[in-house]
């Protein structure tokens, strides 16, 4: 089981996801520099959180043009799963690999806290560790996490079961308060049409150790690793 993690200048949550990946598989992902033009064959490609290129211009906009992204797109087109977390999600939308865009949080402030997510579709390699409708608690840490897309796209995502997670209350209710960043339809994460690319704003990788205040992210990685092994 091998993953590749793309390191951009300004990536800063690579250690967190490498730690979670190691917990699930016993070893760390391969680190691939953004200027590289070739990518080893791996079971998964990870775009980590951070502030690639300082998020100057627009979050993820410069990183989406990195040399390695051509290879990431080609590999994704051939079916290699891609996981984009936080800044990684922003890069995936900027690269056109996922629809929509991420706007500044409606508070216009960076927000770091534990939030609750409702698992909307558990029939994917990324979410098979959960059951549909399950509520999990994981942290968020972002300034630009308000998901947006046109109504047609949102309807399609909903209709095709491509919404992975929604922000919700601890009991799983969709309330305006719990949708803290003002995402369209409370969307926290989405899939591409083949469910092999996931972009999400929250950080399941920071909820994999009881010492660090939560383990609801463990099933994310255990489920993913299990699915990739099958």
């Amino acid at each position: 089981m091998q993953a590749a993690i793309i390191i951009f200048p300004g990536s800063n949550r690579e250690q967190d996801v490498c730690q979670a990946w190691k917990l699930a598989t016993g070893h760390e992902p391969l680190r691939i520099w953004h200027k590289d033009t070739s990518l080893p064959e791996t079971d998964l490609i990870i775009l980590p959180g951070g502030f690639a290129h300082g998020d100057y211009l627009r979050c993820g906009a410069i990183a989406a043009q990195a040399p390695i992204m051509r290879e990431v797109k080609a590999r994704a087109a051939r079916g290699t799963p891609v996981l984009g977390i936080c800044n990684g999600f922003q890069i995936l939308t900027e690269a056109g690999m996922l629809p929509g865009a991420l706007l500044p949080n409606r508070s216009l402030a960076f927000t770091c806290k534990d939030i609750h997510l409702r698992v909307e579709n558990s029939q994917t390699i990324f979410t098979c560790g959960y059951s549909a409708g399950q509520t999990i608690r994981v942290p968020v840490a972002h300034h630009d996490g308000g998901y947006t897309a046109d109504e047609g796209t949102l309807d399609r995502l909903e209709g095709e079961g491509r919404i992975a997670f929604r922000y919700c209350s601890p009991a799983g209710a969709l309330t305006d308060d719990d949708n803290f960043n003002g995402s369209a339809r409370a969307i926290a994460g989405i899939f591409n049409d083949t469910r092999t690319i996931l972009g999400l704003m929250p950080h399941p990788e920071d909820a994999t150790d009881p010492l660090l205040g939560g383990t609801d992210g463990r099933a994310f990685f255990d489920g993913l690793v299990g699915a990739l092994q099958r």
């Binding site: 200048p9 800063n12 250690q15 502030f51 840490a141 990788e205 010492l211 660090l212």
Partner: protein, 730 residues
């Protein structure tokens, strides 16, 4: 030139001394260099003789004050590297950039020494919430700290935020950074090896921040906004690249010496590197080779610029290609700008001409040193609790929890990424943050503390209390306090009463550091925090670092389990002088602060730490602002559980018992209460059961015979509401 020198902050006497050193009148660039190096900020000329009296050594101390940051051994070949620094003046003038560049500067101090930054803390003091500038300053400072720290990917895990009218014209923004290094891979700033290349790395040099160090060494008049051009602008992305590039280059042996360009930029970094080397050591710089952002910059401007995110290095022979490879990878400007010489002089060339030629030894060694006159303030009369009216304790509690100093600071710390790097074990909001050290099983505990309202009436007790509280906060999570870094924020030292505050605070800190085996390993002095003659409260901020051998033993303040006893450790005499209760409930700032019994601190703290290590304690909280009932309420709110309090066990006035701020006290939660009480009695530690944990959810409440009950939800609402509501006003 003499007039110009005066404008730059050099006194007539200092200018004469500079002229004598050179044997001629200094030119403009040289005058600027003398002014910067001899500024209060760079030379510590008013504070040095007193700072030298602080204990700075210990069995674990690898490097004490004098380098970029302090270094302490934490076993297994690891070292913790840390320092706190002020960015007060810039943050008042331009809060967002001022605070952001404060974070950037302290990060550089730590990674310059070869350490990866793993945590930041921020100690903030603002003026009265009613002051028209306060909201704007809070918003800007918090945005600046978050904007920088979040981007570089270093978690901001703790700090403090208080309000007082004394800070109306001078806020305090102190940032602390903590890093991790291998004990045998520490990098220092001592230049060596004549012929070795001097390397410039990082952002280009612009005209921003020229003479920031001298600005930070003068008090404000009424028009501080005019000084906005002296504030620098931060670029956290470049900083992140610098961190990664420097740490990558430090894996090899290319670097002989390294220094960040902080206050006084290229001047202080080059002079300090040369000054720490052998007597004969000099540095020659070719300023035409410095990467610049603007055309036509003079030698003076290049030397005094405080453009951010820049480093100076001295490379080992033959290492240039390796350095160039690393910095090219990270797309950072890199230039050879000079070399180490044997002339003992700092020689600067521009356009083929010599722009400055100064002997390094006297520039550093003959910097002025002042033993400024000081006076001690007369002590205030004691406050007799019996002279204060009786009040409903729960109503007072609710008011105190909603007071600006005690109100939850969640609105602030939720804007800081406190989780990145994946090692945050205890998050903001407790006595100390706990950060695990990778997978070693060990952890560091971190806190910043000061109680300025104690320091104004009695600087000695105030200094002592700040150190003791820091030590207590580390102890309360189960950590062994290792060492501290101090940020001394005071007014104009040329006024004897202000100098008296400084001298007193140092005296108190010295006694506490000695009694608690808690040495000072780094620090910063910020003087002239005055506007139009009105000084800030004397504010010695203590940044403390402690070690947990077993991270799984770390405790927090949240009550855990119904039926557990709540036990008070330490003696209570009901001291209300200078207390939060007196200020918030009675509207009086009066009386002396509580005495600090250092022997009791030591005894009680060692006992609590031992019980935590033995697994006997499920929650622990240090008693501080607001005393016993506030501490208990904080534990109840954190755990979402109620407490049935025992009746007051003594004849003190009830407000003295519940809200007195006697030191050396802790509240602990434990299942085996009798065992703990017996163990405490055996070692002479005062301990008494004061209640029992009972109830959670919506029904959780504090109950007290004769005073009724107050729900935890109600207390929490009061505690959480103040800051967001305040910041939402326009």
């Amino acid at each position: 030139m003499k007039e110009l020198a005066a404008e730059m902050g050099l006194s007539a006497e200092e200018f004469a001394r500079a002229s004598a050193i050179l044997g001629r009148t200094p030119n403009l660039t040289e005058t600027g260099i003398f002014a910067a190096m001899w500024s209060e900020h760079c030379s510590y000329k008013s504070s040095k003789i007193w700072l030298k009296t602080l204990p700075t050594t210990g069995p674990r101390v690898i490097c004490g004050p004098g380098e970029n940051a302090g270094v302490v051994d934490i076993g297994d070949g690891d070292a913790v590297v840390f320092k706190i620094e002020s960015h007060n003046h810039p943050s008042f003038i331009e809060p967002h950039q001022g605070a952001a560049t404060g974070v950037g500067g302290i990060l550089r101090d730590v990674f310059t020494m070869g350490a990866r930054p793993i945590a930041m803390l921020d100690s903030l003091r603002f003026g009265s919430p009613d002051h028209p500038l306060t909201r704007h300053l809070v918003s800007g400072v918090v945005g600046g700290i978050g904007g920088y720290g979040n981007c570089v990917g270093v978690p901001t895990v703790g700090g403090e935020c208080q309000f007082h009218p004394a800070y109306n014209g001078n806020i305090l923004v102190n940032a602390m950074c903590v890093g991790l290094a291998r004990a045998d891979r520490i990098f220092y700033s001592t230049a060596a090896g004549p012929g070795n290349l001097v390397i410039y790395v990082g952002a280009k040099t612009g005209r921003d921040g020229i003479h920031g160090a001298t600005m930070a060494s003068a008090e404000f008049g009424g028009n501080a906004g005019d000084k906005r051009p002296t504030v620098q602008v931060g670029d956290p992305f470049t900083e992140k690249l610098l961190i990664e590039a420097c740490l990558e280059l430090m894996e090899g042996d290319a670097i002989v010496a390294i220094q960040d360009m902080g206050a006084a930029g290229l001047t202080s970094s080059s002079v300090e590197m040369a000054g720490k080397g052998k007597d004969s050591l000099g540095i020659a710089l070719d300023l035409d080779r410095v990467p610049v952002r603007e055309t036509g910059m003079s030698a003076y401007e290049i030397m005094l610029s405080e453009s951010q995110e820049r480093m100076l290095m001295i490379l080992a022979p033959g290492s240039e290609a390796e350095a160039r490879r690393v910095f090219d990878k990270w797309e950072l400007d890199f230039a050879v700008i000079g070399e180490v010489t044997e002339t003992g002089r700092l020689v600067l060339r521009i356009h083929g001409e010599i722009a400055a030629d100064i002997p390094v030894g006297p520039l550093v060694g003959e910097a002025p040193l002042y033993e400024r006159p000081w006076v001690r303030r007369a002590s205030d009369p004691e406050i007799d609790p019996r002279s204060l009216p009786a009040r409903d304790p729960f109503a007072c509690l609710k008011r105190l929890l909603a007071a600006p100093d005690l109100a939850s600071k969640r609105w602030i710390w939720e804007q800081y990424d406190h989780l990145v790097q994946g090692n945050t074990v205890k998050r903001p909001g407790g006595d100390a943050a706990v950060i695990r050290i990778g997978q070693t099983g060990k952890a560091l505990a971190l806190t910043t503390d000061s109680t300025p309202r104690y320091c104004r009436p009695d600087p000695v007790r105030g200094g002592m209390q700040a150190v003791a509280e820091s030590w207590r906060n580390l102890t309360a999570v189960g950590a062994l306090p290792l060492a501290l870094t101090d940020c001394m924020n005071f007014g104009n030292p040329e006024r004897p009463e202000i100098m008296g505050e400084f001298v007193g605070a140092i005296e108190g800190m010295r006694a506490a550091c000695r009694a608690l085996d808690y040495p000072v390993v780094s620090g910063n002095v910020s003087l002239y925090n005055e506007t139009s003659g009105s000084a800030v409260l004397p504010t010695p901020v203590i940044g403390g670092v402690g070690l947990l051998d077993d991270v799984r033993r770390a405790v927090d303040l949240a009550l855990k389990r119904d039926g557990d006893a709540v036990i008070l450790i330490g003696d209570t005499s009901g001291h209300l002088g200078a207390s939060l209760y007196l200020g918030e409930i009675e509207g009086r700032e009066a009386g002396p602060p509580p005495p600090v019994d250092l022997a009791a601190e030591r005894r009680n703290g060692d006992f609590v730490r031992g019980q935590i290590a033995g697994g006997q304690i499920t929650a622990c909280h240090d008693l501080g602002d607001g005393g016993l009932l506030v501490a208990l309420a904080e534990m109840a709110m954190a755990g979402g559980r109620g407490v049935a309090l025992d009746p007051q066990p003594c004849t003190l006035a009830p407000h003295a018992w519940w809200f007195g701020e006697d030191q050396a006290r802790y509240l602990i939660e434990a299942a085996a209460a009798d065992q703990i009480l017996a163990a405490a009695a055996a070692v002479g530690v005062p301990a008494r059961r004061i209640g029992i944990v009972i109830g959670d959810g919506a029904g959780a409440a504090l109950t007290l015979p004769g005073a009724g009950a107050i729900s935890i939800a109600e207390l929490r609402a009061a505690n959480e509401a103040w800051l967001p509501a305040y910041m939402a006003q326009s």
